[in-house]
Amino acid sequence: MKSTGIANTSDGCGGRRLADVASADQTREFSGAKAPDRTGSIDSSGLRLALNEWGDPEAPVLAMVHGGFDFSRTFDVFAPMIAEAGWRVVAWDARGHGDSDHAHMYGWSADVRDHLAAIQSISSEPIVLLGHSKGGGQLLDLLDGRPSLAKAFVNLDGLPSQFSSPDVNDRERRRMRRADLASGLDRRRRRNELSRRPDTIEGLAERRQPMNPRLSREWLEYLVTVGARHDDEGWRWKIDPVLHLGGFGPWRPGWSLDHLAALEMPFLGVLSGVQDDPMGWKSRHSDIEPFLPPGGRLEYYDDIGHFLHIEQTRVIADLVLEFLEPLR
């Protein structure tokens, strides 16, 4: 496979040249976690997206796309495991997340376009794409429109379905949408004053725990040291404070299934069956199976939560590597 280099400072968007950063990283220890071997940035129409890499730069490329309110360093255990098996793993931070630029505007289609810009900067040949949660859902959209980008696609609990949407009546749904609208607009009115609340490492980890109740406190504290920055007042998450969970718009989970059925590359979907995990779409095997592309494979774990690759890293890494073995 021919790989292209990652765009950097020459594009004038403030990006950094690839550098060996492992020794410079100030991270809290977590078993198996490894800082990226290389960092850089790519340009998406003038917006700088931070990019991390693990593994042999000459190895075949596997690109990972993180989920909403996550960032590429959430792959710090999973990515090295894949890289050790002979892959060059590349992951980038979505706009407004991690070390990427904050944007004036955010949206699903802009994220999808950023993924295209990142992938095109990494390789001119089809690569393996892996997406978790929202990242997996966005890759479904991208690959329906640009199937030649991927020689295989792995989706980790990023398969939305209308069948598993929360069971709420129309009045309640409208009430939720209306509250979301008001809070979103209020937040945008105050965007110049917004900042993430500072805290200690332990405090930020505790505040994130409700989103990740099945993940250990040690992991969450590690995440703080790679996903937050420290200033005079303490640690603050890097994510743009104007972003909030939920968002609004007419997007429906079921629309993604049309994209799934249209795929033509080898496909592995992995679903979490833990219904009380607060994150994820809670799609069931029977929701997704009828929409699998020809030859597509679907695995379902009723005892692993939404963050499958963090909760059971070895199990999921082995599954992915076994699926990819024929493609090496």
Partner: protein
Amino acid sequence: MTRSTEFLLNGSLRLALHTLAEGEGHPLLLLHGLGEQSPMSRPAWTSAWNGPVLALDFTGHGDSDVPVSGGYTPEGLMSDVDAVLAQLGPVTIVGRGFGAWVGLLIAGARTSLVHGVILFDGSGAVGGGSQPPTPYVNVLPASGTTKPDPYALLELSRDPRPPDYALDYVRFVLEDSEIENPIVVSARIRPEWLAAVAADIGVIELPLEQAIESFA
């Protein structure tokens, strides 16, 4: 009168708000269509309005700033209009095409600040249709200050507009508004979302000039 312009901030971007006519009372706010910009002078069809007549250039259009790397959504551009509401208080809105769609959304989101909305013909009324259109993902060169922003044209002509989603906003307006007929459809060309809105029992239809007169 020659239009005068002031600039409002939405985040770090400047929005151009033009005054086309002075007057007493709450303003009539004109929202242009996709790829358009505010008119240079007061349109004749606003003659029944005695209050101020204002017009907003959406982000990436007219005299307003262009953001880096797009990300346009109708819901996001609601915050453009919301910046006007924060500055001026209540307005009545006339939206053309895409502006009609945003006008309906902001009327539903800020019911106490939008005293009636008129949905009229114009560019960008259809959007992407009721369902997501065929996937088309493309990266454009950084647009700099080109207007209308090519990303606005790309992204705002492809956003899905399901009729039931539009009707949610109709419900928001009708549940809260103190006006008898707060939503008026004057458009003759009606994509599915607008046909559904026009068919709602709480929505009336009037020619544009009569619609403006009904709120004057």
